[in-house]
């Protein structure tokens, strides 16, 4: 706290600059730095407090569902809100609607697999795009392409979802999926996952691709800024050694920003894991359905919560199960972040990036 306070010293060495309009006014208010320091301290604790509070509330709220579903919550693949119109039954001492079962495995897998598809597609595309923007395109064109990329990142997800549900999904189902099924689906061993019914545009593949579309601008924009920051000298040196553009990128530019790229990918992954409405619009909302192939209808944790909150809110136990789902999603997201930090530390820990593998 105090170190950060002392860090904020005018380091330009300009002496005491002449007071200006807003600066002077603010300085008048915060004479003595006391207020700003305390505001800073409180501000620093608010996010931490919010995180702890959310976790605490979720755990407390989820307890009855944890008791009711037990470990089957993670291993079971049937999710049923139960019949609202049946007579409540008692099992394990808990009164619940008949048929009520909470097995969240398909949703947890759905969340992970859609995000994985998104990242597998988005990372190479984004890094390729970033390299081209920085190193190949004329400066003016690169500027506009970059601008476009940032605009793309700002599109509200509901618009992407709408496009996915109306245009992109059916296009994928009728033109792209059959090609995948005819090629990858013909390879022995992969038939089960890539072959079979290619669906009608709602499901695993469409959700993954929609997520990729949403994640690419985030990763690409970050990667572009990182690559732009690589000094020109090592790159020129590599070219002078007779390396091709591809070799320069692979052996000099990308290793130089490796840690940052992992950070960018995780930023994208976090977005993909939590993305709700766009996925809810294209996933097929198949509760408790473990898709048998790449094209099957499914649902994710976030999509299930947003689509069925109205049903859940009317039953005391359903809403507890949603709290547990939320808890699981939160743990997944936190775990992703921690993992990313470890990875970044490892990558940036290996002394000089340049020269590795040469």
């Amino acid at each position: 706290m105090t170190t950060s306070a002392t860090n904020v010293q005018p380091d330009g060495g300009a002496g005491s600059p002449p007071p200006r309009r807003l600066g002077a006014a603010l300085r008048g208010v915060f004479r003595g730095d006391g207020i700003i320091r305390w505001t800073g301290r409180i501000g620093a604790f608010v996010p931490l407090l919010a995180l702890i509070l959310i976790l605490l509330v979720l755990v407390v709220r989820a307890l009855p569902a944890i008791q009711f579903a037990g470990f089957k919550f993670f291993s079971g693949s049937t999710w049923n809100f139960g019949s609202q119109y049946g007579t409540p039954v008692k099992s394990d001492g808990i009164l619940h609607e008949p048929g009520e079962v909470f097995g969240a495995l398909p949703e947890i897998l759905g969340t992970l697999v859609t995000s994985a598809i998104a990242i597998i597609i988005a990372v190479p595309v984004s890094i390729g795009a970033a390299l081209v923007i920085v190193e190949r395109l004329p400066r003016r064109l690169a500027y506009y392409v970059g601008l476009f990329l940032e605009l793309l990142a700002g599109i509200p997800s509901v618009i992407v979802g709408l496009w996915g549900a109306l245009t992109f999904g059916p296009f994928i189902a009728h033109h792209i999926a059959p090609i995948i099924a005819d090629t990858l689906g013909k390879i022995p061993g992969l038939t089960g996952f890539f072959g079979g019914d290619t669906g009608n545009g709602q499901g695993l593949l469409t959700s993954g691709l929609i997520l990729a579309v949403m994640v690419i601008p985030i990763i690409a924009a970050t990667a572009r800024d990182l690559i732009r920051g690589v000094p020109i000298l090592p790159r020129e040196g590599a070219v002078a050694l007779g390396m091709s553009d591809w070799e320069t990128a692979r052996r000099v530019t990308l290793p130089w920003v490796g840690a940052g790229l992992i950070g960018a990918a995780v930023l994208g992954l976090a977005r993909a894991l939590g993305e709700t409405i766009a996925v809810a619009m294209v996933c097929g909302v198949a509760l408790g359905n473990l898709p048998t192939n790449l094209y099957g209808a499914m649902t994710t944790i976030a999509a299930n919560i947003v689509q069925n909150i109205d049903t859940a809110i009317l039953d005391p136990l359903d809403i507890r199960a949603f709290a547990e789902l939320a808890l699981v999603l939160m743990v997944i997201t936190l775990a992703t972040n921690v993992l990313a930090r470890l990875l970044v530390r490892r990558v940036s820990g290996t002394a000089l990036p340049v020269g590795r593998g040469l």
């Binding site: 049923n80 119109y85 008949p98 048929g99 079979g196 290619t198 909150i309 009317l314």
Partner: protein, 373 residues
């Protein structure tokens, strides 16, 4: 340079705080002014206070509610009505939590919901029906379907339109070798409740009672699609060849415009019947005599040979205790209007609904009278 940077930083850091403060203060002031205006309208209810009634819920009722809303705005300008087609589940949930004044639902309240939310009542407003529509090019005559076939279609067991089980109940109709795409509602829907009730009543072996509700776990049928709202079902089915969907009768004109066919459904007597004024009323006659005082009754799968099997009461879900006397009286007046003036053919005819039978109107009147401020 650095001072400007620091100024900007400070401003940026303070902006959320300032916003928070502004929200807090405006919240508290609007809160107090809100209660003040509420008491003002309450005291002025005998005079000319303006009241707002909000509605969300059933997309099946939504077109009719829109017509009611427009007519009522002319008849009683002092009352403003807002409405939203969000699906019956949202209507029930919003009414239960007090977010809206009226929750519109195709499904009545279950005993569990009544137990959890005391003081919530369902008032029948009109009689509606749910159609089973399909997109099968080249078939002009209504396709006959029954609960058993539909249950197997939705379970992914019958996958093409020329399946023997379908052709057996459609003599003289040539059905194409077209893959069936099942559409179901993505949102919590009264239509889903009615449709699954029908499947369960016709074929309890293939469709268990735990799969009856506004949100259910659909069996895995390859290529199935989820759509939001009755409108979403119409457009989704219109753009998918081979689809089958259950859509409220108020969207029948739109479904026809999207060149969807409408199935004739088997009732308990085993006769295939299309929804019409005559068939809805024939089915209604077998149930309305036994409608309980609470208004909650399933009208599914009539025994009348000429009756249409999927009909229901459209409900207004409201709390008996309203926040103010002004809201209560405005609500009562509006609900009374919907089952009297609003029940004329001008409004109901346009959406294919039927008015309540006389004895059910009385039940609804009594329920409305129980609302107080």
């Amino acid at each position: 340079m650095s001072i400007r940077f620091r100024t900007i930083c400070a401003a940026a850091a303070l902006a959320p705080l300032a916003l928070l403060a502004a929200c807090g203060s405006s919240g508290s002031t609007s809160g107090s002014s809100g209660s003040a205006s509420a008491s003002a309208t309450a005291s002025a209810s005998s005079g000319s206070g303006s009241t707002t009634l909000s509605e969300t819920g059933s997309t099946l009722l939504f077109p009719l509610f829109g017509a009611w809303q427009a007519a009522y705005a002319t008849a009683v300008p002092a009352v403003t009505i807002t409405s939203g087609g969000t699906g019956s589940g949202t209507g029930i949930a919003d009414a239960a939590t007090g977010t809206v004044t009226i929750g519109a639902s195709d499904a009545y309240l279950s005993s569990a919901q009544l137990a959890q939310y005391k003081g919530l009542i369902n008032i029948p407003l009109a009689v509606a029906a749910v159609n089973v529509n399909y997109n099968v090019p080249g078939v002009t005559k209504p396709i006959n379907l029954n609960g058993k076939v539909l249950a197997q279609i939705y379970a992914g067991k019958i996958t093409t339109w020329n399946n023997a089980a379908i052709t057996a109940i459609n003599p003289g109709v040539t059905l194409p070798n077209l893959k069936i795409v099942t559409l179901h509602r993505a949102d919590s829907s009264g239509s889903t409740f009615l449709f699954t009730s029908y499947l369960n009543d016709q074929d309890p072996a293939d469709w268990s009672s735990s799969n009856v509700g506004t949100t259910i776990t659909w069996p895995s049928a390859p290529g199935s699609l989820a759509e939001t709202g009755s409108g979403g079902m119409v457009s989704g089915c219109g753009s998918t060849k081979g689809c089958i969907a259950y859509i409220g009768i108020s969207y029948a004109a739109k479904a026809t415009a999207a060149s969807l066919g409408t199935a004739a459904l088997a009732n308990k007597a085993g006769k295939f019947v299309s929804a019409s004024t005559a068939s809805i009323n024939a089915a209604l006659a077998t149930f309305s005599g036994s409608t309980p005082k609470t208004g909650a009754q399933s009208l599914i799968d009539t025994t009348a040979p000429t009756g249409y099997p999927i009909i229901n009461y459209e409900y207004a879900i409201v709390k008996t205790t309203q926040p103010s006397a002004a809201t209560a009286s405005a609500l009562k007046a509006f609900l009374k209007w919907t089952i009297t003036t609003g029940a004329s053919a001008t409004y109901l005819g346009a959406v294919g609904f039927e008015p309540l039978p006389a004895n059910v109107t009385t039940i609804a009147q009594n329920e409305i009278s129980s609302i107080s401020g």
